[in-house]
């Protein structure tokens, strides 16, 4: 029998998984030709910066903004939030 704990922190939905991120990125808004997303070449360049950043946690999460970097790096109108040394800028065509 499964018993739901009243404890907030023990719930499975608070665990970050690559599958969750994959599901988010499956949305059409994140396709490379959408109005929201940057082109793949820009995306990969941003991710490369994120992956070498000391503020990346567990390979998934930016500790500065709390976002999954694989999601945050998709947005044209976002810039790396690292104070004083932003690693990538907004994408403007």
């Amino acid at each position: 029998m499964s018993v739901q704990s009243p404890c907030k922190g023990c719930r499975e939905e608070y665990r970050a998984t690559e599958e969750q991120i994959d599901r988010l990125l499956d949305h059409p808004m994140f396709q490379a030709d959408s109005e929201i997303s940057v082109p793949d070449s820009v995306y990969l360049g941003r991710l490369e910066q994120c992956m070498s950043c000391p503020r990346l946690s567990a390979g998934t999460t930016c500790l500065v903004c709390g976002c999954f970097v694989r999601v945050a790096a998709k947005y044209r109108n976002r810039a790396c939030p690292l104070a004083g040394e932003s690693r990538w800028a907004k994408f403007e065509t």
Partner: protein, 497 residues
């Protein structure tokens, strides 16, 4: 039905404890790290590693008390890991929240330094779930002992000669859940044991707080009060406003439906019933109301912002949150004979925050503005008032359109806080101010409202929801007539000359 309010300016019911305006900071997501602590080498302007902008903003709202280090985190927090040279402190994974690396750079010294900067009382949450009696006892000794002792000497070695004043100490957190999954009978015995060694040293008198129930667990309250009431100064209560039907589908913080607006406010109003019923149980064992009820976790809990780590509990904050804050604070006022403290969860970047940060940027939320507008009630005298409110109905449900509270401060100024819960209809209110002996009244007001029900502040548009002067009132036939905007929180100031 019209809205009418009668305020008896000469009938004082009690004092609104300023600690009702308290906050909560946990090692969770970006509350402590990034939100408060950025480290001394950060390009974010800081003093000894603590953000200057955040300290200034919290001082502005007169934050009276801050709870730390959790929450669930407190149940696995071992304080000795967080003192001494920072480079030598233990590194661990925060298993409760997000699985991030915790380097313990923010520990006891840093928290108490923060409280000194904020000029607020610290409220330490001790570890019963996975800590020992000795560990808890030594923490109190470390912080408060003024004399020769192993812990006092260790504190001095760590560059703090004088002890701190630490009044509020929680003996356990959510021991019905993340704090050990205990039965109330077992926790009550543990409380009796642990609190024995939470000593008073010198002039420092600890206010001991027992772990109380989750939401409507009335049995927990009854058992813990029955078995340990004479050994506690307060007991806690946790209640979150979750509009969704389940914890796995709580509803979004923005872009919510009309139903979700209504349900959120209806559930926020339930706080009144919870306090009433828990207080009735407490009355059985403590009819003189010596023991305080401390609502040390409350606020809205929505689904996290899309694309953010679910363990970070990051959510936006709209005019709906402002209404929840206003309603709840008015409820706390009404129960000020029993509610001695409350701590909104959480102060920065987590759940119903008053502040959001991202790198060097900071934005104040609608909830912040309610705390700013309502700070005039801190330590003021609660005035007797009666309210006849129009109904705010949806489908077969009905709640009051208005939430009202009134107080008089030390200078004799009367403050009336009014919330209009309806997001579509104005509220015309007749306010009868009695007990002022025909004095001439000077009235002013401040209003927080919005044109959209999910209006919120962002780093790009930080003032979408901000307080503005309120002028929609007049005196007529000896009564104050006000017209409240839909979905608004208003505070009127009345000076009798």
């Amino acid at each position: 039905m019209s809205n009418s309010v009668t305020i008896n300016a000469d009938q004082v019911l009690g004092t609104i404890n300023r600690n009702i305006y308290g906050h909560f900071s946990e090692h969770l997501g970006r509350c402590i790290y990034e939100g408060i602590w950025v480290g001394e080498d950060s390009p974010v302007p800081n003093t000894n590693g603590i953000r200057n902008d955040v300290v200034a903003a919290l001082k502005h709202i007169k934050i009276p008390v801050l709870r730390w280090p959790g929450g669930c985190f407190a149940d696995e927090y071992h304080w000795k890991d967080g003192v001494g040279p920072r480079e030598d402190r233990k590194r661990m994974i925060n298993t409760h929240w997000g699985g991030v690396l915790e380097n313990n750079h923010f520990g006891t010294h840093e928290f108490l330094m923060l409280c000194e900067m904020l000029e607020c009382e610290p409220y330490i949450s001790g570890n019963v779930g996975s800590g020992t009696v000795q560990e808890m006892s030594e923490w109190v000794e470390y912080m408060t002992f003024d004399g020769v002792s192993p812990m006092a000497e260790w504190r001095e070695k760590n560059d703090r000669e004088k002890p701190w004043d630490v009044k509020y100490f929680g003996v356990g957190n959510e021991n019905w859940g993340c704090g050990g999954n205990m039965r109330p009978e077992y926790y009550a015995d543990l409380y009796r044991r642990y609190q024995t060694y939470v000593r008073n040293y010198g002039d420092n008198k600890i206010h001991k707080i027992a772990c109380g129930p989750n939401s409507d667990d009335y049995r927990w309250m009854d058992v813990v009060m029955r078995e340990a009431h004479w050994l506690m100064d307060s007991i806690s209560l946790h209640y979150y406003t979750v509009p969704g039907k389940s914890w796995s589908n709580k509803g979004p913080a923005t872009g919510f439906t009309e139903d979700e607006w209504y349900t959120t406010l209806k559930k926020a109003l339930w706080m009144d019933e919870l306090i009433t019923r828990h207080s009735a149980i407490m009355d059985r064992y403590d009819p003189s109301k010596r023991i305080g009820l401390i609502v040390d976790e409350w606020g809205t809990w929505f689904d996290v912002e899309p694309g953010t780590n679910p363990g970070f509990l990051y959510q936006q904050n709209t005019i709906r949150d402002a209404l929840v804050a206003g309603i709840t604070l008015n409820i706390f006022h009404a129960h000020s004979d029993r509610v001695q403290m409350a701590n909104l969860a959480q102060v920065i970047n987590v759940l119903q925050s008053v502040i959001l940060t991202e790198g060097e940027k900071m934005v104040l939320t609608p909830t912040y503005h309610v705390f700013d507008m309502f700070k005039v009630h801190q330590d003021a005298s609660l005035l007797h008032s009666s309210v006849t409110s129009a109904a705010y109905t949806r489908d077969e449900h009905s709640i009051s359109q208005l939430s009202v509270s009134a107080s008089k401060d030390a200078q004799g100024r009367i403050h009336i806080s009014l919330c209009n819960l309806d997001n579509a209809a104005e509220a015309e209110v007749d306010i009868d101010l009695r007990g002022l002996d025909g004095a001439e009244l000077v009235i002013s007001g401040t209003e927080l409202t919005a044109s959209e029900k999910d209006a919120h502040n962002t780093f790009e548009q930080p003032d979408q929801v901000a307080p503005a002067a309120f002028h929609a009132f007049r005196m007529e036939d000896g009564k104050l007539k006000a017209k409240l905007s839909p979905m608004s929180v208003t505070v009127l100031e009345v000076i009798a000359q």
